[in-house]
Symmetry: C2
Subunit: 426 residues, 2 copies
């Protein structure tokens, strides 16, 4: 039976989950995969944490050099997160000819080319299923399940923390602050929640997923990013009344005009399968030119779901010796030529406060019409003190047209304020 | 650039879709996969059909021998369907050392071992993603995305024809016959719809999927099968009122008592993501011990979706020369030892017609209680002529207990008839 030696760098949540699966299912992998997988060593400063997981303290390495020089180690699992020291460790492992499996989305999104080059040079494997959408095999699907397709769009709920917060705001009527506090209490959100709530985490993932989907490197910087911190209960409530649910979406579109990549709060129609993806669940919806619509749904984070992706990569790497790399190898020119669209085409949900007076709506509609922004739906709600909240939903139009129209509308004497502009998908 | 020669056996719907993708996306595959894929030959009696697709008539082979002796053919795509001559053709291709990609669920479900043996012997590849759930990469997910997991259950809407019929019965109030007729008109159902509506097609797919999920060969014969022909509008209506949607599910469960595999109409709670999979869409819901819940959703049939799966297999086969086969190779003993459960544990939806008289429900409840069948919900509807329809939903219990209780209940003087017994999943 083929022996596979694994080293785990970092025994945090995901490292612990990975260790648990590899040890709990060791006999199962012998029987079902014909592989005898052993965790040979771990790199973790907190030796007590290692021992508490059942790891012999002699198996705790004291340096990355000790790990990569260990001849029993075939595969190095990096689950430290962040750029350094993860980047240095992964490069050392690859340059020693070890295959690397990582869950590190930030590292992968920012240093993919450097890592891939090292892997190719040394004929080492480089696997990163766990970097996006936890246990959902989205990378494998893009690489090995949908290669027949030109992928037209990818739309995903790819951050569990923000989905939990938005679900609670919608279903419990909580404010953003209340929902964030509960997410922190449950361990879904960090003490400093910036990476999640400002959309950085989703941006790293969208950079990776859209690079694979569109066969060209989409850098983190080319992704337009907006978080959920400015979202109010009122937006969610008005959206709900009109049949829309608010989600933080990562959206990638490959259009004749170029590629659009953006992370921002988005209303989705309740008939869209993404609308019913709740709490910390994630989902990715893809459209391919041959296969049409596909959606994958599951847990985007957590010790065992992310560990599942890591261990699936370990097994895949152990069974395939003819590594192949990403889709960029034949498209170096393509990367330089990639055109990006910044004037997004979308539908918009616009909330304004207007004067309770006759003719206000007709004046607003007139301004939109002049800018070729066509209106799909208008809803006016009973106001207080002569201030009336109005929600307008537009048909698809360029963002520049909406912004020009809104600048004119804001200047109208009968308009008090433009309170929100949120993109919308059917 | 690596050249890949493909032969297509059969130019029906899926064969035509496969040809279209391979030719339309030829330049795209050169650029993104580094593969120059060419359809070298086709085997199709109807030469005009081939020519109408744009195939040179000299490229139409006159026999399987001509195909398998063609040195330019690396991969043989079999999309004829049925057992013969598909089985003979596939075996000849494999024995000539050609890699085979097939969409043939019946052939694969019934002759898997024979095909796998031939492939192994000749070191040829054998790929069958297109045999189950069209363009949805469910086989790849089971083989390469969830291997870290002991899979506990698989539940799927894996037949588009019956899902279309049940969706129309639920949403339009049509009878089974009306919905079937419309499905036939649209080409979703065959003139002879037996394979779909009696659950044979779903049984083949569940046999393949549960074999992969549970790492042991699950023969077609071990799958309990019930179709949808006895389903009435009334069942669907009463279910709807109680918050359930009727689906034809393929269900596989791996329990300590053994494996359960069954295809039958099932009510699913509206909060279950399978409930909102409508029309001809398919979906598969999986639970793994590490990853938890996962669901894959997409088109289960059609020229391009199924063609997408075929072509993805072709590309995968062309890039991986270290073929691996299924999970059975280390579990030959396991196959013989597999225990099956026939006394299923489930919740039940039971519809009866009872006399409009006091004490009837209490008598029925008493019989259930005596057989340890616990009742979750009872709904009584206004009846006519003294006959009252009653719907009872049970908690989980063994089927044998329900059947024994119902035999007693049927004999009660106050019970006219037991009209339906339908299994139910939350």
């Amino acid at each position: 039976m083929k022996k596979v030696g694994v080293a785990i760098l970092g025994l945090g949540v995901v490292g612990g989950g990975t260790y648990k699966i590899l040890t709990d299912n060791k006999e199962f992998f012998k029987k079902t995969q014909g592989l005898d997988v052993t965790v040979e060593t771990v790199l973790e400063k907190n030796v007590e944490r290692a021992v508490s997981l059942g790891i012999d303290k002699n198996a705790v390495a004291s340096s990355i050099e000790e790990v990569v020089s260990n001849p029993n180690v075939d595969i190095v699992v990096e689950v430290i997160g962040g750029i350094e020291p993860a980047r240095t460790f992964v490069l050392k492992a690859l340059m020693s000819g070890k295959t690397v499996v990582t869950s590190n989305k930030e590292l992968f999104a920012k240093h993919w080319s450097e890592l891939e080059e090292a892997a190719k040079k040394m004929n080492a494997g480089l696997f990163f299923e766990a970097s996006c959408v936890g246990g959902v095999p989205i990378i494998r699907t893009l690489q090995d399940g949908m290669q027949a397709n030109k992928i037209l769009s990818i739309k995903g709920i790819i951050n569990g923390t923000t989905n939990y917060i938005l679900t609670k705001m919608a279903n419990q009527g909580w404010s953003y602050e209340e929902a964030l506090k509960e997410a922190q209490r449950l361990g879904y959100a960090e003490f400093n929640p910036t990476a999640d709530v400002e959309g950085f985490d989703a941006t790293y993932k969208l950079s990776i997923l859209s690079s694979l989907a569109f066969h060209t490197k989409i850098s983190v910087d080319s992704v337009h990013r907006e978080g959920i911190t400015a979202i109010t209960k009122e937006d969610i409530l008005y959206g709900k009344e009109l049949g829309y649910t608010l989600k933080l979406l990562g959206i990638g579109k490959n259009t004749p005009a170029g590629i659009e990549v953006r992370v921002h709060p988005t209303f989705v129609s309740n008939s869209n399968p993404l609308a019913s993806v709740n709490d910390s669940f994630n989902a990715v919806h893809l459209v391919g030119d041959a296969v049409g619509e596909i959606m994958l749904y599951g847990r985007g984070a957590g010790a065992l779901p992310t560990g599942s992706a890591i261990v699936s990569d370990v097994i895949f790497a152990a069974k395939h010796t003819d590594y192949y790399y990403t889709c960029f190898k034949n498209t170096d020119d393509g990367v330089k030529e990639t055109k990006f669209v910044s004037d997004f085409t979308s539908q918009y949900f616009i909330r304004l406060a207007v004067k309770d007076a006759p003719g206000v709506l007709s004046k607003i509609a007139g301004v939109f019409a002049k800018h070729n922004v066509s209106i799909k739906e208008v809803k006016q709600v009973a106001g207080i003190d002569g201030k009336v909240p109005v929600v307008i939903i537009t048909h698809e139009c360029p963002e520049s047209a909406v912004n020009k129209a809104l600048a004119k509308i804001e200047a109208l004497e009968t308009v008090y304020s433009i309170d929100s502009i949120i993109r919308l998908e059917d």
